[in-house]
Homo-oligomer: 200 residues x 2
Amino acid sequence: MRKGDATRQQIVETALSRAAELGLEGVTLGRLADELQISKSGLFAHFKSKEALQLAVLEEAIELFIEKVVRPAFVRPRGAARVRALFERWIAWFRGEEAGDTGCPFLSLSAEYDDRPGAVRDALVRSQRDWMATIARAAVLAVAEGHFRADLDPAQFAFEFSAIGMSLQYAAKLVADPNAYTHAAAAFERLFVDAAVQPQ
Amino acid sequence: MRKGDATRQQIVETALSRAAELGLEGVTLGRLADELQISKSGLFAHFKSKEALQLAVLEEAIELFIEKVVRPAFVRPRGAARVRALFERWIAWFRGEEAGDTGCPFLSLSAEYDDRPGAVRDALVRSQRDWMATIARAAVLAVAEGHFRADLDPAQFAFEFSAIGMSLQYAAKLVADPNAYTHAAAAFERLFVDAAVQPQ
DNA sequence: CACAAAACCGACCGGTCGTGCTATTCTCTG
DNA sequence: CAGAGAATAGCACGACCGGTCGGTTTTGTG
């Protein structure tokens, strides 16, 4: 049916935006239904369980992330430009221009599920491994293009790349450091220069 | 009275270890009482509200952090050695040798409260500002000692310092990367060398 | 050893949680 | 426009939530 799919999509989108603030466990069916102005049971009928809703929300977040961060960066030519685009898109994602200033949902979820086994955690881990692999792959291509040094460790690069983003979210959202974005940009520049082939 | 203080301390300690897994909101009075084999009302009598318990738990965590991380590093001579000790102690804290392999409670709490206003968040923010200032202060002293370059930005140094720890927790706990600690050590080395005065 | 205060307990409150089950309303299609 | 089937609502459930209260046990002390 068509109407049902539209409603379901609306539920998932609303749930995603709430989950970024309160966590996936913090989104309750009752409040979600109130916000959407439908009954709790009417909402529930679209999912067999709350976990199914959580998985749908996570999937939605992954799709959005790929669309807003990964794909735009991968249209850039392989190499340094793509790595830089990946970072810039990621930062823009943090600012929540699309997510609604609630920050990166994956970072909230990572903390929420790092000690909570289950299907949601499994899916989350899979997506985060993909993301790290995506960064590393971009770095490998930059090496192949001759933009990055040949002895660069792509996994190490991905580790430090993602570290900057996490520190940014922490500094910007929790401690409300006005220089957070400046610090993140400077940290990336240092990482980037270190990875690039020496100008000699 | 004496007996009550001991019980209260036991409650706070147990609550802290549970909070590192489930978050402070996830610790419920009933379960906590069951685990301690006391009644829920007997437990509750030690605090005027759940928020008061949460604040007590946070205070306990701060004390523990200072005792296990900050103080041991600050007995080292000011300068590069102290900065390095600070990092090493912090990493050891992550491994949870004292906290019981649940990772750093402050990182979990940061994600949990970055969108949840209240007294707990305020206290958390204060403690995290202190921690960042502590790192920056150690860097400033290293500059004064001639170990770090004079043009080093201490806030930038603290930003990247903390970034490594966050990425470590994320990599080690969520994605279960076996090389997480190696990556963290390498990242710190890069940060440290960049901050040090050039051998020239 | 008595006795007040502190510590603790069990029962209970209103509310909300996730989740079923049954009816009703809506929507697409023949 | 009628009827089938999807979409949604109403209602109730058992469990658990933070919190309250009156009473009982334990503890430190004069």
